[in-house]
């Protein structure tokens, strides 16, 4: 009887008689233990949440599986590539057209990225300049530069009388003084740069408050030549120091130049023995070879066809 009970395929039924186990039926204990194992696993994982004890197992299996997955992927890749060869001529042509259009668009975008970034920076600089010098500015772009063979250093900007401009207004950029408006049309204005040989600006050495006159030399500052201005001080005995900052002196009613706009720094000082005067060479802050965005100083509250940068940096 005992060895009968120990036979794995048969068991005693409820009536106490021996009956063979149905083929394919699992032992109840093992089935139950497997189901319980599943439930325990689920509970552990669910209760554990973020720091689940099952995560250790996940990590081990993941580590072991990673090279297998990589290998299978490497093998499968060329096979999957086959489907890429199966296209109709039409769909390929369409793809090429679409991609070419997209390419052109992206190339265009790429070409203007630097330009856009620089323009944004200039606008920011102009706003800062308006705050710094304390005047309202009409923003304008340089749209034309006078040819060098005319020997006058002028530029055309895209703001005119409609923007509130008139002759004898100061033009500045984010870096410093640019020049003054000499002529206006309804939509454009001509600006005489301070480096023009005809230009004379009242200047003041910031450290000593001595005043003098800044004369242009006609050099635009391109082709390797640096743009430069000559400063002749009224007080002949005063010698400006190298590196001193020079600002505008200013005229009555702010025309043609308003006061306090930075012009440049003293680069070198020459003494003339003959007439015993001091001549200082000023390096302007503004790079006249790369002028783009400028601001025209206008009285606050000027009517304009565009936004005016107010002294507090706000746009109106």
């Amino acid at each position: 009887m005992t060895d009968l009970l120990n036979r794995p395929r048969e068991r005693l039924n409820r009536r106490g008689s021996l009956e063979p186990r149905e083929p394919g039926t699992p032992r109840r204990s093992r089935a139950l233990s497997l189901v319980l194992a599943c439930l325990v696993l689920m509970t552990l994982d669910l209760v554990g949440g973020e720091s689940s004890p099952v995560d250790a197992g996940r990590r081990v299996v993941g580590e072991a599986y990673a090279p297998v997955a990589a290998g299978v992927d490497a093998v499968l890749d060329p096979l999957l590539g086959i489907s890429r060869w199966l296209h109709t001529q039409d769909s390929l042509t369409e793809d090429v057209a679409r991609l070419e259009a997209e390419n052109d668009r992206l190339r265009g975008d790429l070409g203007t990225v630097d330009y856009d970034r620089n323009r944004l920076q200039e606008y920011d600089g102009l706003t800062a300049a308006a705050e710094q010098i304390g005047y309202a500015l009409v923003p304008a772009r340089v749209i034309g530069i006078g040819a060098s063979q005319t020997f006058s250093r002028t530029v055309t900007i895209d703001a005119g009388t409609r923007a509130g401009l008139r002759p004898d207004l100061t033009v500045v950029s984010a870096a410093g003084l640019v020049g003054r408006v000499i002529r206006v049309t309804s939509t454009t204005a001509t600006v005489l740069l301070v480096i023009d040989a005809d230009s004379t600006v009242g200047g003041r050495v910031g450290s000593s408050m001595k005043i003098g006159f800044l004369h242009g030399r006609g050099d635009l500052g391109d082709f390797g030549r640096e743009g430069r201005l000559d400063l002749e001080l009224v007080d002949q005995t005063s010698v400006p120091a190298r590196g001193d900052a020079v600002v505008t002196w200013g005229s009555e009613d702010g025309a043609p130049y308003v006061a306090g706009v930075p012009v440049g720094t003293v680069r070198s000082v020459y003494s003339s023995v003959r007439d015993s005067t001091q001549r200082a060479v000023i390096a302007p802050y503004v790079d006249f070879g790369a002028l783009d965005l400028v601001g025209v100083v206008v009285p606050s509250g000027t009517d304009s066809d565009r936004a005016v940068v107010e002294p507090d940096g706000a746009l109106r």
Binding site: P23, R30, A31, C38, L41, M42, Y65, V72
Partner: protein
């Protein structure tokens, strides 16, 4: 171990199971329809059930399900596939047990119709159970219509792959130990 699982057989079963996991995780998703890939592991479990009855199939189902629960892309509560494939192993074993006496096997193999019917039943049971545990545990919160659709698509894809894979696994098993038919 059960008498039907000798150590060679256990090693072979483990190898086939691992291959099935690789197949299911890395290869079959490329052939997926509506994102539902066939369950290679389930098919191996079904083959084991048809050949050796419920108990080995349940052990195999548990092991294979556990692997599927832990292998990297899986992010569900661990144990869900284990439970689902456990049930599949039980069902396939029972089906084979019921049909052995009445449906004669050709060369000791179950008939194709029996194989396909078992695959369909097991696929339905396993995928539904997996979906139901998901609903109960609120694991991925999806609606019932989505679940039903997934279960059906899985059933069809399992049938397609099963018609190929289950006879292959059974033939492999016979070659390993030709004298044994059903436990």
């Amino acid at each position: 171990m059960t008498p039907s699982l000798t150590s060679t057989r256990a090693a072979a079963a483990a190898t086939v199971l691992c291959l099935a996991v690789v197949l299911q995780v890395s290869v079959l998703p490329h052939l997926a329809y509506r994102g539902v890939a066939a369950d290679a592991v389930l098919l191996v479990v079904v083959a084991a059930g048809l050949r050796h009855g419920s108990e080995p199939a349940m052990v195999l189902g548990f092991a294979g399900g556990l692997l599927l629960d832990l292998v990297p892309p899986a992010d569900h509560v661990a144990g869900r596939w284990a439970l689902a494939l456990l049930a599949a192993g039980y069902v396939s074993g029972r089906v084979s047990g019921r049909f052995t006496d009445r449906v004669p096997h050709r060369d000791g193999r179950p008939r194709r119709t029996v194989v396909l019917a078992t695959v369909a039943a097991c696929s339905f049971v396993a995928t539904s159970l997996f979906a139901l545990t998901g609903l109960a545990l609120r694991d991925p919160l999806v609606g019932v219509p989505t679940l039903l659709e997934t279960v059906l698509v899985a059933l069809v894809s399992d049938l397609v792959l099963g018609a190929l894979l289950v006879p292959l696994v059974i033939a492999l098993d016979e070659r390993l130990e030709p004298d044994r038919v059903l436990a």
